[in-house]
Symmetry: C2
Subunit: 245 residues, 2 copies
């Protein structure tokens, strides 16, 4: 591989320390050897979501198995802000997109939420989690957001943690513009809620507005698709309260 080969980053579900040996999964073995044409002796970057980024060298590269030896830590662990993205699942490609964008832009947890007007195909959490891993490998982050099992909105709100603020993207556009709404707000645990394409039912919206610590926001004068709203809302939050400052 030349100096200009793209850097490969792999997420490993394993402890990382100097000299540690790690077996790759079949999918990783195929990607590294079959797709990226790496061989024994080549180096890759690895992370596990807890221990920062490390250099590793390929010790064994066979058709069906591969093993890395961990060399040294190259970057410290950098967690995301304590931000949850909560959204009503939509079509498959757009849901995948939301998970990818939430990972790159920086969330700790991705929570699918079933609202009255949610009209989604079945949510495959394992597939979404794999998307989050891939996005984390790509964007240089050392964390992978947890993709949670879908929950119903009423259960989520019934159980809402008292110390977590809630940025509610209100498509009714009666709330303050997002920059103004977040201007006075402080840090700490937050969540963003983006509604379904059909909007929230009126009792859902009323219940949301009654949550202590809720901050309703308006994301501009046009109607954003749910995936656009998710990306815009995370950007706005990160710029004012998160790790983009």
């Amino acid at each position: 591989m030349t100096e200009n080969s793209p850097k490969i980053r792999l997420f490993l579900d394993a402890a990382l320390s100097v000299g540690q040996m790690v077996e790759l999964t079949p999918a990783q073995t195929h990607y590294l050897g079959g797709v990226m044409r790496r061989a024994a002796g080549h180096e890759v970057a690895v992370f596990n979501g807890r221990d920062g980024e490390w250099r590793a060298v390929i010790e064994v590269m066979e058709k069906k198995r591969a093993r890395l030896r961990i060399l040294e830590q190259t970057a410290p662990q950098l967690g995301p802000p304590d931000l949850w993205l909560m959204f009503a699942p939509i079509k498959k490609a757009r849901t995948d997109f939301i998970v990818e964008k939430a990972t790159e832009l920086g969330c700790a947890r991705i929570q699918p939420v079933l609202t009255r007007f949610t009209n989604a195909e079945r949510v495959r959490v394992d597939r979404l989690q794999a998307h989050a891993v891939e996005a984390a490998e790509q964007c240089g982050g050392t964390f992978v957001p947890e993709v949670a099992e879908p929950v119903r909105l009423d259960r989520l709100l019934g159980d809402w943690p008292a110390d977590r603020r809630l940025m509610f993207c209100d498509e009714a556009r009666t709330a303050l513009p997002v920059a103004e709404a977040l201007a006075g707000a402080g840090g700490g645990p937050w969540a963003i809620l983006v509604g379904p394409e059909g909007g929230f039912a009126s009792d859902e919206a009323a219940r949301l507005r009654a949550i202590p610590g809720v901050v309703p926001v308006t994301l501009g004068p046009r109607i954003l698709r749910a995936d656009t709203a998710a990306a815009a809302a995370i950007t706005a939050w990160q710029m004012q309260l998160g790790d983009w400052t």
Copy 2:
């Protein structure tokens, strides 16, 4: 159609005034009659990018042709801010996505740019323009951004208008955080430039930084894909300088 039928909005390339008759295109005829099952007597909303939004009634709905009669204006024309989005085309689905997001978030012009490291399939401007129309119909805007023919970066910069400021999304991450970089900036004509997946060549980046009125910005601590960067950059600009305030 019931009260709850989703509102249909059509972009018409025609003058709009009370009593005006407008023939639909074959694609619009198919969509309205075949897909959405609308018939003579049903109403739709229409806009042409210049005259705001209007109510119209279907006068004729046949298999191959349809005609609307324009009834009355229902919303004023609301143009986008004078913001250009310039980006190096990437894979088809992600380029489509950028055009959709730029339309919803609000740009006046979408300019594909060919950089040294641009590695794109051929750009079909007519197809991208059709995507912008569809996104405008969906998001409730009364304008459609113009999708321009691709130009080479050196030609674009050689011809750069003196009064247009340039927000340069610098993936080298040496620039100020975006909120800080834009904080002192004023309104007027602006452009956002998002680089290709391979980054800018060093002479391209140097030339960009030398443009009078350039504002280099950093979009957070992670490496964003070009489509993510485009959506985040437009959001940041709109929040601080555009029509989201």
